[in-house]
Symmetry: C2
Subunit: 258 residues, 2 copies
DNA sequence: CGGGGCTTTGAGTAAACTCAAATAGCGTGG
DNA sequence: CCACGCTATTTGAGTTTACTCAAAGCCCCG
């Protein structure tokens, strides 16, 4: 199921393969905070390569001693946990710019798995030298902490939903979240974004069964709140969704990128 | 409902009030990683006072612009979110040594509340100077990140439980977690620890109703897995609990303290 | 044209919920 | 020392939301 590592580009002259950080397509989005030239050069030095995987590939397996840190460059992924009998809970979705593997790197084992939702490319940092960030670039270390806290706040929200919202409310809250995150990355325009999830992914993220998720999605669609077909989400009534989810409208902050 | 700040001790000679970091009772536990003298002196310098609150007091209110960072010195607390109609979800419990307010400090608002479960004392850091940690003490900055990630992993687990475990399994998993965390702090001995939660707290943490939590607790008690009376948890069958929760047995790592 | 994966529908079931009221504990004041 | 009030726990009864099992329909791709 897991795909092999594919070098992202030529490694001529000892330069790391793949995208060059200074010309990283993500950096051009105003969604991300700018870094100094020095910082970018340093990050570039930390980068040892790229990892490309097909959809459904394992980025980190549960229980792995995978002590690698990545940044997701393109594609979507998700973090999850499973029980021995196969029940799976998706903890949160990962979009380009998100850090992958911080927890696994900090503790000795991966307490959760990470799987590619689409074909993905990851920027791969030096196993041994990552923590130089802390010694040499306090601002970047701060950014690592920020990104970690940001991810936690996503998980907080999901837990809130799963614990205390009805099926319909959960779906509304999740779609709003993903719509907002994807929009920031210009994953579409005019109220429509690409959502590469199956209904089962949604179910597994929301603690619901696939069947019930399907019925609830249909009911919401019928209420004219959104359309979700062929991997495209078109939000028809943002306020209706927000009201249903009773979600606060928090304008997206610009975020760091490492 | 919220109690006023009570100075933790005399502030004679410009020395910060309250416990002196070097003689912090938590540091003597082998559960916590040792720090260098320099680090302790630095932390001491960052400490501007102590905050003492009664049980049920608000440490951080949802939506606050409370940009303070604390360490919980004594007592228990919890992070939570609520919906306008009163539904509440507890995200995780906080025990002595846990950092409080990292997220609220990092973002502009508190996206969750923090409430005291028992009478608590918090160690209170300088609003403005906390981030000096990153510039001056990389190791401590790393520790902040570690503690953040640690908390996230608690939330991950709770989300996993709430999303995919049955009521009985959730309770087993939660009691195991709290038993393990409290044991590390010597909150009791011989299989029994003090658990200052009501059944409603357990319900709110697990996404259950109070009534159902009560019935499920009784059923588990009847199966001889544990006793939970008068705020004391006595675990009678750890393996039984673990099997029920299908929880991995992860030996507690020693953790940093700031 | 034939899978394989995803979505949809039907029918019966079960886990957990709500409402309501009784009981138990505990600290305070008469 | 007991009554009172407050909070927390317990019990009963009926309901609902979401689940399971099973099968059919879709749709894309080879």
């Amino acid at each position: 199921m897991s795909q092999p590592l594919v070098p992202g580009g030529s490694a001529r002259d000892g330069a790391p393969p793949g995208t060059h950080c200074a010309s990283c397509p993500l950096r051009s989005l105003e969604f991300f905070r700018a870094n100094t030239e020095e910082e970018i050069a340093f990050i570039q030095g930390l980068k040892v390569g790229e990892l490309s995987l097909r959809a459904r590939g394992d980025i980190i397996r549960e229980g792995d001693v995978a002590d690698r840190l990545y940044t997701l460059l393109s594609g979507w992924a998700f973090r999850y946990k499973t029980l021995p009998d196969g029940r799976r809970q998706i903890l949160n979705f990962l979009l380009p710019g998100d850090l992958v593997g911080l927890q696994s790197k900090l503790f000795d084992r991966a307490l959760h798995g990470v799987e590619a939702l689409t074909d993905v490319t990851l920027c791969c940092f030096s196993r041994d030298r990552v923590w130089e960030i802390f010694r040499l670039f306090p601002q970047l270390a701060f950014d690592v902490t920020w990104l970690g806290a940001q991810e936690e706040s996503l998980v907080d929200d999901n837990l809130f939903s799963v614990g205390r919202r009805s099926a319909a409310e959960r779906i509304a809250a999740l779609l709003l979240q993903l719509y907002q995150r994807a929009s920031g990355l210009r994953n579409g325009g005019g109220g429509a974004v690409r959502l590469p999830l199956t209904q089962v992914h949604i179910a597994d993220a929301l603690g619901l069964s696939g069947v019930h998720t399907n019925r609830t999605l249909q009911a919401l669609r019928a209420r004219g709140l959104f359309d979700l077909v062929g991997g495209m989400l078109r939000v028809r009534d943002v306020n209706g969704l927000r009201e249903l989810a009773r979600a606060a409208d928090i304008p997206p902050e610009s975020r760091p990128l490492i």
